[in-house]
Structure formats: structure tokens, C-alpha cells
């Protein structure tokens, strides 16, 4: 498909990388040039992604814009990229979030290095979402750690070095399992596939593992992804990393990097080991639901606004895990949608919290009061984003959570019942936090709180636009996500005795 035409997927990875090189070469004494170059390349990447979105054929099942070139032939590794309904919106989200977070958050020092790391990070995340070769995927999945480590460690807050280290060790530890898992997968599949290949498409079609082998391999992959998501109880790096990361770091971390885990589970966990994934379902469903409730309860107790948002991420990602492992068309489409929604609303929340910190130099809820009176537009913006995160109907959060819940109810009833309580808990912690920060009479320290600036407004506007659009009219997204999900479910059904329940197969847009 599209063979010989413009290699848009490679360009999506190469553009930010080229930007990083250009920024590196820019004069360090004139940060504005570096900034301009960085911004322009990330905007160019976003433009490319919009073009990708526009030319993506909805309704098609398999991968599109595939580009495949042999790379390390001795090991059966090729530069194999492709995009389908599951990765499409994650790619677009990545491309859109980066310029917005570059615009919305100022690093205050070391502009040049900051931009270089951000652009390398963007290329890494893009590569992870686009690669269809296990080796290439792992390469990008690992390489992402380095810029993120430096971003947290170099531009974060007080306890940044510790947080950066914790982040690195956790994720690299998880990856160690996947590293061995990937190689084992390739070698054990050699007989059934016929040759050594790291090609995901061929492996998921032809590879045939003994039941117990498949389960071990799934476990190796799942550990790496569970750390990344993070699934309870492997989540303890996340609150630290999020709280200490610079604003843009948090936006990217929550917006797209956590999605590497959920995306990985869908694409690699389910794609390569459907039998094992089906077998591990009860465990993952339970951990997902525990994450929802636990994340929400801990978030309620937080004194630090940023930490609160971080814990809310754990709860939201629990929904995604629930939807993924409920194995119905609706729940899985909901999960994919929820990945995007969470990226948009939590990304925006982190930006807003970052702006509060810029003004008040504190993130403690107790220090903030009555901001609504001094900065009504700021408060309004915060409210829309917060409501979307709660999942109020009409905004994007609702669509995803609703689909996940009704889809999961068919196959994972009691888990869903418990998870539904998480929706209410989300309202509790977010509304309560909003109340404490924005309502009431401002004291002296808060009376001078600056209103939303034009630039901040311009950054926030696209977020709110997306929040409302996806909430009101999610059909174009679902049209593109659905076929790929249907194919994935078929793949699971072929390999297990699982039968997706009828009502769920009927489609969503009736």
C-alpha cells in the first residue's frame, strides 16, 4: 500500500530528529533562534500528522502507509513502519501535544538542550507508535527513556534527580524483561514462521507457541508495559516523576508516554499472545480496577495539586486496562479513545497546574484560594478541562469511559460494577480540589494572581476545542478505530475459545 510514494511515517520520525540536530547547531547565545527552529519542526511534524489523518482510509482493517526496508538482514530486522486505527490517533496526539507544550511551558534555562531533548523525545515516541518491527519498537521504546530522564533531571523541581533516577530504573527494569522476551519470541517462533524475523505482522500471523511458552513470553512483555502504564502495584515511580518533571515533561509523560504501555499491551500483548492475554485476563482486569479505585482514593488525599493529577492518571489508565482486557469491540474502542482523551485532558491539566506554579511558586492546594475571583477566564478554562477529566457528558472523557464501561459490562460484569464507582470518585477529588483552589475569598497572596495571558489562551484553546469536539462528535474517530479493533478481536477469537458477545459486535454507531 502506498509503496513508492512519500514516506510520510519515516518523515514523522525524521522531522523532529532533524530539528534536534538543527537546534544543536544553533548559536547558544541566541536561544530565540533555537526556539524558533524547535517550534517550527514540531509544528511541521504536526502538519505531517494532520496530512496523515486526512489521507488515512477509514474503514480499512490493516496497516496503511507501510514502509519496509531491510536493515540488519542477519537478524531479520527491517525498518518496518505502518499505522492503523489504533496507532493513528496516538501519532496525531503526539504530534499535536509537542508544539503545544513547547509553546505553553518555558524551561527558564538551558533552552537549547531542553529543545534538543524534547525533539529527540518526540522522535522516539513517534517511532514507538509507528514501528511494526519488534526490534525497531524496542529501540525507540528504550531510547525514549534517555531524553525523558534528562528532562526531569535537568529542568524539574526540587527533588528532580531522585525522581529521574527512579523513573529510569523502573522503566529500564521492565524493559529488561521485554528485551529477553522479544528475542525469545523471535527464536521460538523460528520454526513456525520459517525464518528469523522481528516483523510483528508475520509473527502475529504465523507464530505458534506452546501454551505455557506463550504465557511466559506474554508475562515478559506485560511487565515492561505494566511499568510504563503504570498498572498497580508497579506505579510508584509515576507520582514522583510527574511531580518533579517540568511542565512540558509532565504533559508529554502523561499525554503520550504512558500510552506506550497501554498501546504496547494492545498491539504486542494481544497481537502476539492472544491465548496468554486471554488467560491473564482476570489478573489484569483486577489490577486495572484496583488501579482505578486506589488511584482515585490516593488522589483525594493529596495536598499537592500536581501530585493529585498524577494519581488521577493512575485511575484513568485503570479504565483503559479494563477496556482492553474486556475484549469487546466497544470496550476496546473506548480504551483507544480514552488513551487520546486522557492525553488531551490530563495534558491540559498539567499545563494549567504548571501555570499556577509559575504565578504562585507553589502547588500546594492549601496555599491557593479564591482564584476564580481574580482570574475568571483561567478558572473557566480549568473547569472545562477538569470536567472533561471527570467524564461529564458532552465532553470527551465521557465518551471513552462510557464505551469502556458498557463494553466491559458484557464480559467482565463485576469488575465493571466496581470500576463505575471510580467515575464518582473522580468527581470527588477533582471537584473538591477545584473548590478549594478556585472558590472562596482570595487572600493576599492570591489576590495578585495573573489572568490567563493571550499566549496561554492560544495554547489552551486547541485543547478545549478537542475536548468539546471529541465529546460531541466522536464518530469520525470511532470509524477509524473500530475496524482495527474488530480485526484484533477476531485475532483473539481465532486463537482462543473466547467469543465476543453479540451486542458488542453490532457496532457502536447505530
Amino acid at each position: 500500500m502506498n509503496e513508492g510514494s512519500f514516506p510520510i511515517l519515516t518523515a514523522l520520525i525524521a522531522t523532529p530528529l532533524a530539528g534536534a540536530v538543527l537546534v544543536m547547531l544553533a548559536n547558544a547565545r541566541r536561544p530565540e533562534i533555537a526556539k524558533l527552529v524547535g517550534l517550527l519542526t514540531s509544528v511541521a511534524t504536526a502538519a505531517l500528522s494532520v496530512w496523515l489523518l486526512a489521507s488515512f482510509e477509514s474503514g480499512a482493517e490493516s496497516y496503511q502507509f507501510v514502509s519496509k526496508h531491510p536493515w540488519i538482514e542477519q537478524w531479520g530486522i527491517s525498518w518496518h513502519l505502518g499505522v492503523d486505527g489504533i496507532s493513528l490517533f496516538l501519532v496525531v496526539l503526539t504530534a499535536v501535544l509537542f508544539p503545544l507544550s513547547l509553546l505553553g511551558a518555558d524551561p527558564h534555562h538551558g533552552h537549547k538542550q531542553y529543545l534538543v531533548w524534547m525533539l529527540i523525545l518526540e522522535a522516539g515516541v513517534m517511532g514507538s507508535f509507528l514501528s511494526l518491527d519488534l526490534f525497531v519498537f524496542f529501540l525507540f521504546f528504550e531510547v525514549v527513556l534517555v531524553p525523558m530522564y534528562f528532562l526531569i533531571g535537568g529542568w524539574g523541581y526540587e527533588d528532580r534527580v531522585h525522581a529521574a533516577l527512579k523513573f529510569f530504573l523502573y522503566t529500564a527494569g521492565g524493559s529488561a524483561f521485554m528485551f529477553v522476551g522479544i528475542i525469545a519470541t523471535v527464536y521460538l517462533a523460528r520454526d513456525s514462521v520459517g525464518e528469523i524475523t522481528f516483523d510483528l505482522v508475520r509473527l502475529s500471523e504465523d507464530a505458534d507457541f506452546a501454551t505455557s511458552t506463550g504465557r511466559w513470553l506474554f508475562f515478559a512483555f506485560a511487565v515492561a508495559f505494566a511499568v510504563k502504564v503504570p498498572i498497580f502495584p508497579l506505579h510508584t515511580w509515576l507520582p514522583d516523576a510527574h511531580t518533579q518533571a517540568p511542565t512540558a515533561g509532565s504533559v508529554v509523560l502523561a499525554g503520550v508516554m504512558l500510552k506506550l504501555g497501554t498501546y504496547g499491551l494492545l498491539r504486542f500483548g494481544l497481537g502476539l499472545f492472544p491465548e496468554a492475554a486471554y488467560w491473564a485476563r482476570p489478573l489484569l482486569l483486577t489490577l486495572g480496577v484496583v488501579g482505578i479505585i486506589y488511584g482515585a482514593m490516593v488522589a483525594t488525599m493529596q495536598k499537592d495539586l500536581k501530585r493529585l493529577v498524577a494519581y488521577s492518571s493512575i485511575a484513568h489508565l485503570g479504565f483503559i486496562i479494563l477496556g482492553t482486557f474486556a475484549f469487546t469491540s466497544q470496550s476496546m474502542s473506548g480504551s483507544v479513545l480514552q488513551m487520546i482523551n486522557h492525553g488531551v485532558s490530563t495534558g491540559a491539566l498539567f499545563l494549567l497546574v504548571g501555570w499556577i506554579y509559575e504565578r504562585r511558586k507553589t502547588r500546594l492546594i492549601a496555599e491557593l484560594r479564591g482564584i476564580q475571583q481574580v482570574a475568571p477566564i483561567f478558572a473557566a478554562g480549568f473547569m472545562v478541562v477538569m470536567l472533561s477529566s471527570i467524564g461529564v457528558p458532552g465532553l470527551n472523557g465521557f465518551v471513552g469511559e462510557y464505551l469502556v464501561l458498557i463494553g466491559s459490562f458484557l464480559t467482565a460484569r463485576w469488575w465493571t460494577v466496581v470500576a463505575a464507582a471510580g467515575v464518582i470518585l473522580a468527581a470527588v477529588y477533582l471537584l473538591w480540589a477545584y473548590q478549594r483552589v478556585f472558590h472562596g475569598e482570595p487572600d493576599d497572596a492570591n489576590r495578585t494572581f495573573k489572568e490567563l495571558t493571550l499566549r496561554e489562551g492560544m495554547v489552551l484553546l486547541p485543547f478545549i476545542g478537542l475536548i468539546v469536539f471529541c465529546g460531541v462528535y466522536p464518530k469520525p474517530m470511532l470509524d477509524r478505530i473500530e475496524p482495527s479493533i474488530a480485526e484484533l478481536i477476531e485475532h483473539v477469537e481465532e486463537n482462543t475459545d473466547f467469543v465476543s458477545p453479540e451486542p458488542a459486535r453490532a457496532g457502536i454507531d447505530e
Binding site: 536493515w71 540488519i72 538482514e73 542477519q74 537478524w75 524496542f138 529501540l139 525507540f140 528504550e142 531510547v143 527513556l145 534517555v146 530522564y149 534528562f150 533531571g153 535537568g154 534527580v161 529521574a164 533516577l165 529510569f168 530504573l169 529500564a172 527494569g173 529488561a176 524483561f177 528485551f179 529477553v180 528475542i183 525469545a184 527464536y187
Partner: protein, 510 residues
């Protein structure tokens, strides 16, 4: 006078051309010593240029021989004493690369220390010749000669910084322990001779092939194997025979540490491959578990003990023990099919790892050598505070080397680790593969510690003082580090040619 029949001694036929890589090095060493003693001090960099020229010539000759061997198949030279196969040539090239890079570093170092003279270089060349003999020996006595030639040169080199007592201490420690281990090796060789009737590897193999197991002197042979393994494990610095490494590496002049960690280990691993995989494939069930344990202990000790070090040279010494563990993982997987016609991916992965590691470690020690300025004592972790602001280019290079040692993608270190783990997984040694990857996460922590100190710590008073002291460094050191960094990245991105070359390492001369 009693008349005796005249016995004429006929020496073996010698193929001088095939031995040329070795002869060039020896000739250059002799020439350097003689000419250096008879002439006034040579102009800037003169000795180093001759050394680099000799090493390059030797490497080029080895590449030419590589072509011949590929065409005609492996054979032995000098009446079966030296093997003439691709493995020997690969190790020759690796050692020559080490000599060239280290010579460039040494030039810079010696002039700063006001020690310039031909002795260092002549000793490097002699040591390299000894190392090549070790790696291409087809006779255990020849192997021992190689070990001694290499070691004696290294003892002197370690103590060569005449004015520093630490260097003297390092040389003495290395000498005492090294001679002790040589004794083990020699005793082991004697016992193997006693059991098999020959020291020639070809004849040992033939004897073991043809003799009836019950008639063999197994106790003698196994004791011999054990003693030889002790001797060689000392030379490669595998835990628990590693205790000398940190002290010696710390005390020796930094370029010499680089040489010991690279060429010294490459040669010793070459010898280990000869002894275990070529000579004793029939006893692999006996020595394989020993290698497994050595690998495990080296991996764990190297990574865990490195964490508590505060001196960069000691830190690199412990990390080198971790790397030894990785190479042993490769040897362990090669053991599964030792002696078979298709001996699997083990030996090639060892070769690739050693070449990649040689370049990385020389680069790392090279940066330390330049950073520690005159005196060679400022190697504590604290003296690297704020290094990135003082010497940004060097800091970038050091970061590349450290990331490569940590096995981050797009560096040669990743390819090397991938190859070794892949070999282990292919032979179903999952446990050791997983342990290796997990220890590499711990090791990543220590590399990050150095990186963090360079990039994220504010310089303190002591390191500011250091910054003022003589910043001059010549082009030779920079060239060496630049070449090493370029190679590290290039192999990470385009590894195909190296893997292709290493694939043929399995054909041993017998």
C-alpha cells in the same frame, strides 16, 4: 672428544607472510626502542604516530589475511603452533584498534606528565604482540608465552608513571597477583599435558576424539582444566577473580588502564575461547556450569559494587567486570554447540561484544585521562561536577560512551548486548540472559550517576579550581576520542557489516 653423530636441527617451515600482522608489531617495538634510545627526543607526537602506523599496518595486513582465509579456509602455522583462522584475525584487528586508540591518548597524557619517550609505545606494541599470540595460539605452551609477553609488558606499564606512588603500588599488586595466576595457568597446562600427552590443541582434540573415555585420565585433565580456567579468569578479571582490578585500574596511568581493560581482556578472552571451545569441546558439560557461575557472579558483583564507588576509574573498573559477565554469557551460549560444525551465534557475539567494548572503554578512560589533567589524580566523581559546562564536547563524548556501556539503543553497546543475549536465548539459557539484562539496569544506574554529575550538578570549589588548571590538550587525544565516539554511534546505527564479519568466526583452525 667423543665423536657424535651430527644431528641437524630442521626448524618448521614458517609462512612469514601469514605471520606478518604479528611481525610488524614486534618490528615496530624493537625499532622504537633502538631508534628512540639512539636519537634525541622526537618531535611532538612522533612516537605515537609510529605506533599508530604500526598498528594500522598490522590491522590492514590482518584484513588482507582475512580475505585469504575466507578463500582458502583456516589452517595452522609454524608446525601447528599458531592457528591461522578468522577468529585469530578478528582478535588481531581488535587489539590493533586498541593499540592505535590508546597510543593517541598516551601521547597527550605523557606530554602533560612530562614523561614523553618511546618506552610506553614499545611496551604497548610488545603487549599487543603477546595478546595476538594468546588469541591465535594453537598450542598451550605458545598460549602461555603470549600470556607472559602481554602480562610482563602490562606490569611495567601499570607502574610506568614513575612519580606517582599509586602507580607503583598498582604495578606491584598486578605483578604479584598476575604471576600467581600465571602459575595456576601453567600448572593447568602441565596437567592437561599429563592427561593427553600433548600441549598442541589439535593433538589434544584428536586424542580426546580417539581415546576411549574409560582410558582417559579424567581427574588429571579436569584438574588441569580447572586450574587453567582460574588462570584465565584472573586475566579477564571475572569475579570472583576480580579483586585486583579496581586497585590496578585506579592506580595505573589512565591510558594504561584503558589498554588493560581493552586489549588485555580481548587477548585473554581469545585465549579462553581457544582453550575451552576449540580444545575442550568434549568436556563442555564440565566447564559450562563453571562459566555460567563465573558469568553470574561477574554480572552481579560488577554492577552492584560499582554503585558504591566514588572514583570514576574504580567505577569503570567495576563496570568492566559487569561487561566481562556479558561476554561470558556469550561464551556460555557458545558452549552449547562447542565442537559442532555449526557452532552457533555464541562466538560471533563474543567477538562483536569485545570489539564494541574495546572502543567504548578506551573512549571512557580517554575522557578521564584528559579530564584529570596533570597528576592523573583528579578522578573522583566530584571532580566531574559541572564538567559539561567546562568541556561540553568532551562531556558529550563521555555521555555517548557511558550510554553505550549502559546498552542504550543506537550505540554499539546495544548491538553488542543484543547479540550476546540473542545467542543465550537461542541456546535457551533464559535465566542467565534475564539476569544479564537486569544487572545491566543496575549498571545503567552507575553510568547515569556519572552523567548526572557532569550535566546536572553545580560545580563546587574544588572542581572550579580544576577548571583553571592547564586546559591544553593536543589533537591526538581529541582525535582518539572522536574516532571512538564515531565508531560507537556508527556501529549502533549500521551494524550489518560487523555482524557479517563476525558471523564467520566460528570456523576454527584445527
Amino acid at each position: 672428544m667423543i665423536a657424535q653423530p651430527v644431528s641437524t636441527f630442521t626448524g618448521p617451515e614458517i609462512d612469514w607472510y601469514a605471520l606478518s600482522p604479528l611481525l610488524v608489531l614486534v618490528a615496530a617495538a624493537v625499532a622504537l626502542l633502538v631508534a628512540g634510545a639512539l636519537t634525541p627526543p622526537w618531535p611532538k607526537g612522533g612516537y605515537a604516530i609510529v605506533t599508530v602506523g604500526a598498528a594500522t599496518a598490522s590491522a590492514v595486513l590482518a584484513i588482507i589475511q582475512w580475505q585469504n582465509i575466507s578463500d582458502d579456509g583456516p589452517s595452522t602455522l609454524v608446525a601447528g603452533a599458531v592457528s591461522f583462522d578468522l577468529s585469530a584475525m578478528f582478535f588481531t584487528i581488535t587489539i590493533c584498534v586498541a593499540v592505535a586508540l590508546v597510543a593517541l591518548l598516551t601521547d597527550d597524557f605523557l606530554r602533560r606528565q612530562a614523561l614523553d619517550g618511546p618506552e610506553f609505545y614499545a611496551l604497548y606494541l610488545v603487549a599487543a604482540a603477546g595478546g595476538i599470540v594468546m588469541a591465535s595460539a594453537n598450542d598451550l605452551i605458545v598460549l602461555f608465552l603470549g600470556v607472559e609477553t602481554l602480562s610482563l609488558a602490562l606490569y611495567v606499564l601499570a607502574a610506568a608513571d614513575r612519580r606517582r606512588s599509586k602507580s607503583q603500588e598498582s604495578g606491584l599488586k598486578y605483578f604479584v597477583l598476575g604471576s600467581f595466576s600465571s602459575a595456576f595457568l601453567l600448572y593447568g597446562i602441565a596437567l592437561v599435558y599429563g592427561a593427553t600427552g600433548s600441549t598442541n590443541i589439535t593433538r589434544v582434540v584428536v586424542y580426546l576424539q580417539e581415546s576411549v573415555p574409560l582410558e582417559r585420565f579424567d581427574a588429571l585433565l579436569l584438574t588441569g582444566v580447572a586450574l587453567m580456567m582460574v588462570g584465565l579468569a584472573f586475566k579477564i578479571a571475572a569475579a570472583p577473580f576480580h579483586v585486583w582490578t579496581p586497585d590496578v585500574y585506579e592506580g595505573a596511568p589512565s591510558p594504561v588502564s584503558a589498554f588493560m581493560a581493552s586489549a588485555g581482556k580481548v587477548a585473554a578472552f581469545g585465549a579462553l575461547v581457544r582453550v575451552l571451545i576449540v580444545a575442550l569441546p568434549f568436556y563442555r558439560e564440565d566447564w559450562q556450569p563453571v562459566v555460567w557461575v563465573l558469568a553470574l557472579v561477574s554480572l552481579v558483583v560488577g554492577s552492584v559494587l560499582a554503585v558504591v564507588q566514588t572514583n570514576v576509574k574504580r567505577l569503570l573498573a567495576y563496570s568492566s567486570i559487569n561487561h566481562v559477565g556479558f561476554v561470558l554469557v556469550g561464551i556460555e551460549s557458545a558452549a552449547h554447540r562447542a565442537g559442532a560444525v555449526d557452532s552457533g551465534p555464541g562466538v560471533p557475539s563474543v567477538g562483536v561484544y569485545l570489539l564494541a567494548y574495546t572502543v567504548m572503554v578506551i573512549g571512557s578512560f580517554g575522557v578521564v585521562a584528559i579530564a584529570s589533567r596533570s597528576g592523573d589524580d583528579a578522578t573522583s566523581l566530584d571532580s566531574f561536577r559541572g564538567f559539561a559546562t567546562r568541556r561540553p564536547v568532551l562531556a558529550v563524548a563521555f555521555t555517548v560512551f557511558l550510554l553505550a556501556q549502559a546498552g542504550v539503543p543506537f550505540t554499539s553497546g546495544f548491538i553488542a548486548k543484543f547479540g550476546v543475549v540473542q545467542a543465550a536465548v537461542e541456546e535457551r539459557s533464559y535465566a542467565i540472559a534475564l539476569i544479564a539484562m537486569l544487572t545491566s539496569v543496575v549498571a545503567a544506574f552507575l553510568y547515569l550517576r556519572i552523567i548526572v554529575t557532569m550535566w546536572m550538578s553545580e560545580p563546587d570549589d574544588a572542581s572550579v579550581e580544576l577548571a583553571g588548571a592547564g586546559t591544553s590538550n593536543s589533537w591526538t587525544g581529541t582525535l582518539s576520542i572522536g574516532l571512538a565516539a564515531g565508531f560507537t554511534v556508527a556501529v549502533g546505527i549500521v551494524p550489518g557489516w560487523l555482524l557479517d564479519a563476525a558471523d564467520d568466526l566460528t570456523q576454527f583452525a584445527r
